[in-house]
């Protein structure tokens, strides 16, 4: 009987390991190749669907947990200062932040001049079609953010967000904050973009265009 104890333990551990791997594979979202390609270009090594534990070694700056949003690192490079935001699911962000949090979406935010045109040109090349337009309403009156959105069916997409040129209020003269947000799964408006989304351009929303 004792002869079966050790193989039994090994078999049990192997099954448990296989079970965990299968669970991980089943719960990890499928990310469209175009979306992951964009993430790899601007945030090499980062993967949507990975856990914070897996990604932490690949981020060159410390990650700080921001409640209700996810994990954030402030990066410095030749283009200046930018933020890498590892956005976690609604379920995970209700917690206090854990290494096991799964990254639901990746967002890069920068105030680098000309970032918008550079990224827009890249995205147009990758997706080879015009984006949908939308607008985010911020808590600050008179301040809107334009959205260009490329989706890959219900499998994921990329949003390019920038300060609206028709804003009547701004914090720093001439500065444009640009965000690139990549996500997996269906687009769910405000829930996906973490801001109040309207499926109309900011120009139309503010009455500057018909």
């Amino acid at each position: 009987m004792r002869a079966f104890v050790l193989p039994g333990i090994i078999l049990g551990l192997a099954l448990a390991w296989l079970g965990l791997r299968s669970y991980d594979a089943l719960t990890r979202p499928d990310v469209p190749a175009q979306v992951q390609a964009v993430v790899q270009r601007y945030a090499p090594g980062i993967q949507i669907g990975a856990t914070v534990r897996e990604l932490r070694p690949r981020v060159s700056a410390p990650l700080t947990y921001v409640p209700h949003l996810g994990w954030v690192a402030t990066l410095r490079d030749k283009t200046g200062v930018s933020q890498l935001r590892l956005l976690v699911s609604e379920q995970d962000r209700a917690g206090a932040g854990a290494d096991g949090d799964r990254v639901d979406a990746v967002e890069l935010v920068t105030a680098s001049p000309d970032a918008y045109i550079t990224v827009l040109t890249d995205l147009t090349t990758v997706f080879r079609r015009m984006p949908r337009e939308g607008c985010l309403t911020t808590p600050e009156p008179g301040k809107y953010r334009e959205v260009r959105l490329w989706t890959v069916g219900d499998d994921g997409g990329v949003a390019l967000v920038n300060d609206f040129g028709g804003n009547t209020t701004f914090r720093h003269t001439g500065m444009v904050v640009v965000a690139l947000l990549a996500y997996a799964g269906p687009f769910r408006g405000s829930a996906t973009l973490r801001e109040s989304w309207t499926a109309r351009s900011c120009a139309r929303l503010t009455g500057l265009a018909q």
Partner: protein, 207 residues
């Protein structure tokens, strides 16, 4: 240290809002907005007063000025784009071709002023940037409808910018000209350079 402090403040602020209750999406939006403000302040320093763009500077240029380039100049030639720039400008590396028949170019002057030409995915001249425009002008050149903006104030206060947007019509990729000048005289030179741009009929034609 500063970014860590800013993040800590954002994190603390978000916690307070959380305890006050409210929908998850509202809290996520508040956290996102606070983070963006922290980034803006780190890059831009103390916030400028909100409100409409600043009034025109008395020494700002007229975007409709149609004077020839001031000598000495140098002609920068390539198969897709040619431009005449002040003689001290040098290319910053080789042109970067893209798969859609366009390319991007950069030049730099001795004083650090820069000129960039690249394809633009924007659908209008003012898309994707903001700032106080001192002057703007529409005219036709290089086989395109051109819109030029002159900005007299940049992020650092010494960045005088000229932006030009060339709409070639149809499905052809638009061309964007962006110049960052160190001085008013330099901005004048780089504004005049806009009218020297030549664009090949092969621009935007896939090879």
């Amino acid at each position: 240290m500063l970014p860590a402090l800013a993040l800590a403040l954002v994190a603390t602020g978000s916690c307070r809002r959380a305890s006050a209750g409210g929908a998850d999406s509202t809290q996520a939006a508040a956290a996102s907005d606070s983070l963006s403000v922290a980034l803006e302040d780190e890059v831009g320093g103390p916030p400028s007063a909100g409100g409409p763009p600043a009034p025109l500077s008395p020494d700002s240029l007229d975007a409709c000025t149609a004077l020839p380039p001031s000598e000495p100049t140098k002609r920068m030639e390539s198969p897709l784009v040619t431009i005449t720039l002040p003689a001290d400008f040098e290319p910053l590396g080789a042109p970067t071709p893209s798969g859609n028949g366009t390319a991007s170019y950069q030049w730099r002057g001795e004083d650090g002023s820069r000129v960039q030409i690249l394809a633009s995915g924007a659908s209008s001249a003012h898309e994707g940037w903001t700032g106080p425009r001192a002057s703007e002008c529409d005219f036709q050149a290089a086989g395109a409808q051109v819109h030029v903006d002159v900005l007299f104030w940049g992020l650092t206060g010494t960045d005088r910018t000229v932006r030009a947007w060339f709409d070639l019509g149809g499905d052809r990729p638009r061309l964007q000209y962006v110049a960052h000048a160190r001085t008013l005289d330099r901005q004048d030179e780089l504004l005049r350079a806009v009218r020297t741009v030549w664009i090949s009929t092969m621009w935007g034609v896939r090879q």
